[in-house]
Amino acid sequence: MSATGTAQSGTTTARAARRSGAQRKLLAFASLILLVAGFSIASPNFFQLSNIMAILQAASVNGVLAVGVTLIIITGGIDLSIGTLMTFCAVMTGVVLTWGGMPLPLGIAAALATGACCGLVSGTLVAKAKIPPFIATLGMMLILKGLSLIVTGTKPIYFNDTPSFTLIAQGSLIGAVVPAFPVPNGVLVLFVVAAAVAWILGRTVLGRYTFALGSNEEAARLSGVNTDGWKIAIYALAGGIVGIGGLLIASRLNSAQPALGLGYELEAIAAVVIGGTSLSGGRGTVLGTLIGALIMAVLTNGLRVMSVAPEWQTVVTGIIIIVAVYGDQLRRGAAR
């Protein structure tokens, strides 16, 4: 009897939760659409294929970084080193390709391996040395920033000897097949990475433990989960994804610019939070992050296309970030 009652309320809750989740995503998507519509009305130059491609291209690096850091944020952590790590990965690719004269695949591997290794170090500092993620990755941010400058001797490394390198971000596989739709490879990479991470989060053990760590690490540990090991793995995976971001930016700039990167972490984290992932961990979606990154890219591009004065661009961006998240908050309140 009481069992029946319980069962009903259980099912209702689950269904309601699923519905409100879907609704929320739709609505987050709606605010993206709203922005696009607003800019399209405000400026005839905004809604053009070339500009849309430019926006997607602009979202690609930040998007990849944001997808990577989404993993870490879901565990309840944070990673401030992603910006400078991206640069360091680009630098190591330069070392391998330009200085070492090795073939392209090895350069790609270098970026991924560098990212994963640095992620491993951050993860170990957090999981084993119990250093708060904020500090561990702040330290890594500084260390990697310095290392990029040291390794390169503060000079950019160019990829002129590896002409195909620029194709990673700038070529268009899709455009080769469907000429009317010249989506740059960088964008393709972003979507592939996002899809892969969404799959990992939704379907695999690693994804499950990512949520478990953020939700209640102690409970996971008491359940026999090797929480430290998995946490390190998650940081390493995120690092590898940041390595992909490093490849993209290096490919776009046809060079590894050692002084770049600082500040990219805040932008990526902002995209994640706008996308509805909670900084306290335990919940978050890759789709949300993707939408968050797109919102930021649309906003930046739209204000520029409207030729808003740069100082006002900053103000408006600040306001819209707050409003977007406030809207999300209201919706959640309503869903509850």
Binding site: S43, N51, A54, A58, L260, T300, N301, R304, S307
Partner: protein
């Protein structure tokens, strides 16, 4: 103390420009047998960080100091402290509004940017919309180069309209995105001026990525990518300063001042226009750097 010690406090150290200044300073140091150190903040808005660096440099009892002020007024108390301790100060890169520096080795950024404006006007046929992608909205170099370009256009080329000025912080990627947005907003744009190496390369990237033809790109400073872009015709030309010379002259003047020898009050290290035609001339090649 066996060797004379001369610290140079610059406006930055990560950009190629500053690395070239450093190279010149190091060369002078080696030639003259003095120890030179070189440092600067991460970006040109960090006025107080630079002040702290100056304070730390003073603590080392140097023979003389080279100083590229981000804000000359803000540094005056410390400069006065240097004066009281009989440490001569050599200003470099841009002047210091004070009579404390015994010499100034600098580029006239206003005049240099005006030259860029003249070249731009000439190349686009004296009329049409142009835009500026500047590296900084508040720093002395950013403001001077922007204003030098804009004012010269207004005065000498009234038919050239400056339709947009954006700031990319000298970040290559940001400047790329900015350029693409400018091209979207103003499809009829004739030319874009990038005010430092990062900005100029960003403009070249942005123009190339958006596939627009016929936009005249003028840059500033030097560097491998910029030289390549000029050789490839992606960039019409650029202004270069003589950073190696700035560094060299600064140290040279510092040593002289420390020894009590007379030094020239202003050392104009000059600036040059370079393009495809003269990039390999020996005197231009000498002021270009990678």
């Amino acid at each position: 103390q066996d060797q004379m010690y001369i610290p140079l406090i610059s406006k930055g150290f990560q950009h190629q420009f500053w690395q070239a200044v450093k190279a010149g300073a190091d060369r002078a140091g080696a030639e003259l047998g003095v120890t030179v150190s070189f440092e600067g903040p991460d970006n040109e808005s960090q006025v107080d960080k630079q002040i702290d660096m100056l304070a730390a440099a003073l603590a080392k009892h140097p023979a003389a100091i080279g100083f590229a002020a981000l804000d000359s007024q803000a540094a005056i108390p410390l400069l006065r402290q240097a004066q009281e301790a009989d440490i001569p100060v050599i200003a470099f890169d841009s002047g210091v509004d004070s009579d404390i520096p015994v010499a100034t080795a600098a580029t006239d950024n206003l005049a240099a940017a005006a030259l860029a404006a003249d070249k731009m006007a000439e190349m686009i046929g004296g009329a049409g919309p142009v835009a500026v992608v500047a590296h900084d909205q508040t720093s002395r170099t950013g403001v001077d180069r922007r204003d030098g370009f804009v004012n010269r256009m207004k005065e000498a080329h009234p038919d050239v309209e400056i339709v947009d000025i954006e700031y990319g912080g000298g970040d290559h990627l940001q400047s790329t995105e900015i350029t693409k947005a400018i091209l979207t907003a103003h499809p009829d744009i004739k030319g874009i001026f990038g005010t430092n190496e990062g900005s100029a390369i960003g403009v070249v990237n942005g123009v190339r990525e958006s596939g627009v033809k016929g936009v005249t790109v003028i840059g500033y400073d030097s560097g491998k990518a910029q030289k390549d872009a000029i050789r490839d015709g992606l960039m019409a030309g650029a202004i270069t300063q003589n950073p190696v010379g700035i560094g060299y002259e600064t140290v040279k003047a510092a040593v002289a001042a420390a020894k009590g020898e007379p030094v020239e009050k202003t050392i104009d290290t000059g600036f040059f226009w370079y393009d495809k035609t003269n990039i390999d001339d020996p005197e231009i090649a000498a002021v270009l750097y990678d």
